[in-house]
Symmetry: C2
C-alpha cells in the first residue's frame, strides 16, 4: 500500500465525521510536482473550491451544487507547492458558528472525546489533523474558525494577516473579516506551508531575544478554566527564558472593539444569504437560520458605525501598543463542550454561553487583521486547550517563531 493509499484508507474510515467528501480515484490520479509540500496530503474545508468536487458549505442549501470548475486560488498554490488534495472536510454550516456541531452532515466529533465538539467552523480540518489523518488542512477564520478548533482539538492553527492568503474561490462569510488559514500537526508544517503559499522563507527557529510580548490583563481576557490560565503562564515563562521580554499590557477599548464583531459579520453574512433565506428557509439548519435572521433588520447606520469604531479603536490600540511585538493570550476561555450544549458550567463555576465564549478571545485579531496562531497550551491535562500568539509587528514570521518556542517547551 502506498502512503497515499494509507491516507485514503484512514480518511475513508474517519469516525469523527471530519471528512465530507473523498474522491479516491481523483486523489490517486494527482501527479504532484516537486515543491516544499511534495506529496503532502492536505485536506480542504468544504467552503473552499476544489475543482471537480462540489462546495457544499455544510448546508442543504447547496445539496445540488455542481462540482467546482476550478480550484480556489489557495488550492492552486497548494498544488503548485507539490501537495496532494485528499478530501473535503466538515464545516459548521456556511462557517457561521464556532462549534462545528451544526451542519447538514450532523456534528463533527472531537478526536479527544467524540461526545464533545471540535470547535468550528473549520471543524473537520481540525479533527482530521488531530486524528492523524493528514498533517495539514486548509481552513477559514472569520472570528475564530481556524484557531478555536485548533485549540479544542490540540493542533496548531494559523490565521495569517488579513489578505495574506487569497480568498478567491472561498465561500464568503464576511468580506471584511474572512481569512484563509492553516491547521497542522505542528508549527513546522504550518510554517512550511505558509511559506510555500506566499513565496516566503519562514524561520520558526529565529531567536526571540529582545522580542517584546504583551500579556493583556483586561477583564475581557479572563478564562473560566484554571488549566488554561496555567497554560498561558507556562507559555509566558518559556518565552521569557527564550529571551523575550514579557510584560503586562492593557487594551483600552477592547470591549468596544469586540462589540463590533456581531454587527459587522451579521450584516455581511445576512447580505449574502438574504435571497436564499427568502426562497428556501427550510434548507438552513434552524440554528443558522435564526442567527442569520437576527441581523436582518439591522439599520445600515449601525453597520457603518461599527466599521468606524473598528477603525478608530484599532488605530488607538496600535498606537497604545506601539512598543509591543506580540500578544500572548488564551485561545478560548473554556475547553471543548458537549455537542449541542448552548451553555455549560465552567470549571470556575461560571455559567458560560458557549458560542460567544468560543469567539471572544480570537475575534479581536480578526477585526485588527493581524496574524495570530493557536498552539496547544503547554501543561494542560485531559482535553486540550490553546494559547494564542498575535502579531502586532513582524508578521507571521514573528508569530510562528514564538509559537515554535512555546511548542518545544
Amino acid at each position: 500500500m502506498t502512503d497515499i493509499d494509507s491516507v485514503l484508507a484512514a480518511l475513508a474510515d474517519d469516525p469523527y465525521n471530519a471528512v465530507v467528501a473523498l474522491d479516491a480515484p481523483g486523489v490517486r490520479a494527482q501527479q504532484p510536482g516537486p515543491g516544499p509540500l511534495h506529496r503532502m496530503p492536505v485536506a480542504v474545508k468544504d467552503l473552499i473550491d476544489v475543482a471537480g468536487m462540489p462546495t457544499r458549505c455544510g448546508s442543504a442549501v447547496l445539496a445540488d451544487a455542481p462540482p467546482a470548475t476550478a480550484d480556489a486560488e489557495v488550492v492552486v498554490r497548494l498544488r503548485a507547492a507539490g501537495a496532494v488534495i485528499v478530501a473535503k472536510t466538515h464545516t459548521h454550516e456556511f462557517a457561521y458558528g464556532p462549534t462545528g456541531d451544526v451542519a447538514v452532515q450532523g456534528p463533527c466529533h472531537n478526536p479527544h472525546d467524540p461526545d464533545r465538539i471540535t470547535g468550528g467552523s473549520s471543524a473537520g480540518s481540525a479533527a482530521a489533523v488531530a486524528a492523524g489523518m493528514v498533517p495539514l488542512a486548509l481552513g477559514t477564520d472569520t472570528g475564530c474558525s481556524v484557531r478555536t478548533p485548533a485549540a479544542l482539538c490540540g493542533v496548531v492553527g494559523l490565521k495569517p494577516a488579513f489578505g495574506a492568503l487569497p480568498t478567491a474561490g472561498v465561500f464568503p462569510l464576511s468580506e471584511t473579516c474572512d481569512h484563509v488559514g492553516l491547521l497542522g500537526a505542528d508549527v513546522t508544517v504550518v510554517a512550511t506551508a505558509f511559506g510555500a503559499l506566499t513565496g516566503q522563507l519562514l524561520d520558526p527557529t529565529a531567536p526571540l531575544t529582545g522580542v517584546v510580548i504583551g500579556r493583556p490583563t483586561d477583564p475581557y481576557w479572563r478564562v473560566h478554566d484554571p488549566e488554561i490560565a496555567a497554560g498561558v503562564e507556562h507559555a509566558a515563562a518559556t518565552l521569557s527564558v527564550a529571551g523575550a521580554s514579557v510584560r503586562e499590557v492593557t487594551m483600552p477599548g477592547i470591549d468596544e472593539l469586540g462589540a463590533t464583531y456581531p454587527v459587522i459579520v451579521g450584516a455581511e453574512a445576512y447580505a449574502t444569504h438574504r435571497e436564499w433565506l427568502a426562497q428556501r428557509p427550510d434548507d438552513y439548519q434552524p440554528a443558522t437560520r435564526a442567527r442569520l435572521l437576527a441581523t436582518a433588520r439591522m439599520p445600515a447606520a449601525d453597520y457603518v458605525g461599527a466599521q468606524r469604531t473598528r477603525r478608530s479603536v484599532s488605530a488607538r490600540l496600535r498606537e497604545q501598543l506601539g512598543g509591543v511585538d506580540l500578544l500572548l493570550t488564551p485561545t478560548t476561555p473554556i475547553r471543548a463542550t458537549p455537542i449541542g450544549a448552548e451553555h455549560v458550567e465552567a470549571p470556575d463555576g461560571a455559567r458560560v454561553q458557549v458560542r460567544p465564549a468560543l469567539l471572544s478571545l480570537t475575534l479581536p485579531f480578526s477585526l485588527l487583521g493581524v496574524p495570530a496562531v493557536s498552539i496547544p497550551a503547554p501543561g494542560v491535562t485531559g482535553l486540550p486547550a490553546g494559547v494564542q500568539l498575535a502579531g502586532l509587528r513582524g508578521g507571521e514570521q514573528a508569530v510562528l517563531a514564538a509559537a515554535a518556542r512555546v511548542s518545544s517547551g
Copy 2:
C-alpha cells in the same frame, strides 16, 4: 495697498455669498515661507479645518462651533508650500447636495448669473475663483462637489484619486467616497498646487502621443444641452490633433454602479448625523434633513450589497477598459439652473431633476476612486459648462496633461 490687501478687499466685497468667514488681521499676520505656492492667496471650503476659525459646514447645527484648534492636514501642507489662507468659503450644508443653494448662509450665487446656482457642494470655492477673488481654493468632492461647481462656474476642478490628498480635519460626508480637491483659475495653478501638496512634479505640458482616450457612448452619459455635447466634441478633436487616440467605448454596468451611490453615501451620511438629527432636527435646513432621513431606515444588507456591487462592477469596468488611459465625458448634462429649482426644462426639451442630474456624470469616478478633472467646455457660449477627463491609468499627471491641452484649445 499690498496684494494681500487687495485680495482681502475683494473678498470683503464679495457679492456672491461665496465667503462665509474672513479674518483680515489673521490673514495679514501670516508669514508665508518660500515654496511653489509662495504668497498665493487660497480660500478653503468651510468643511475643512483652519486653525483659529470655526468649521461650520454651512449649518446652524454648528453655529456655536469653537474655532478649530489645528489646521486640517491639507491646509498644513498648503501653508508649508507658501500659501496664504485668506477665507472660508460657502458649502452646501454638510456638503450634502450638488447645488450650493442650501445652507444657513443662504444660497451661493453664480458669478456668471447671480440668479443661478454655482453648483455644489464646494459652491463658494468655485464662485471665489470664478470671480477672480482667488486663483486657487480647496474643496471636497464626494460625488461631484469639486467638478460640478467648477463646470457651472467656468473654472478648473480636480478630484484627485481617492486618498491622494488627506481627509484628516475635514468634516466627513461619506468616508468611502470623500475626496479633497482643488479649484483653480486654470490647469497650471491646479497642477502646481496638487504637485506641491503631494511632493510630485507634474508636467501638464507632457505630450499626448499614444494616449488612448475613451468616449463612453452608453445612454447613461447623455446630456440635455447641445452646447455641452458640442463642447465634448470640440475637446475630443483637440485631443486627437494633439496625438491622442480617441475612440468610443462602452461601460457595461454603469447604471448599476451609479445606483450604488445614493445607498453608500446615504448610509454613511446618516450614520454621522443620526444623533444630531434626533437631538436638534430643526437646526438642519429642511432639504438637508429630508435627504438625511430618507436613508434612516435603510437595512445594513442594502449598504453591504451596494459596496459589493461597487467593487464588482468597478473591477469589471477596469478590465473592460484595460487599454484605455483616460475617459472624456461631459461634467454635467445641464448648465447652471435657477436658484431653488428642483426641476428644469432643459434645452433639449426634457424635464430634468436638477439634483441627480448634477451628480450623475461625476459620481462614477468617485465610486471608482480615480482622478478626474473638470475644465471649461470649449466653444460654449453664455453660461459655462464643463468637460471631464478621468484617469484610468497614469494618475493625476495624465489627467492634467490632457486637460491642459483642451484648455489651450
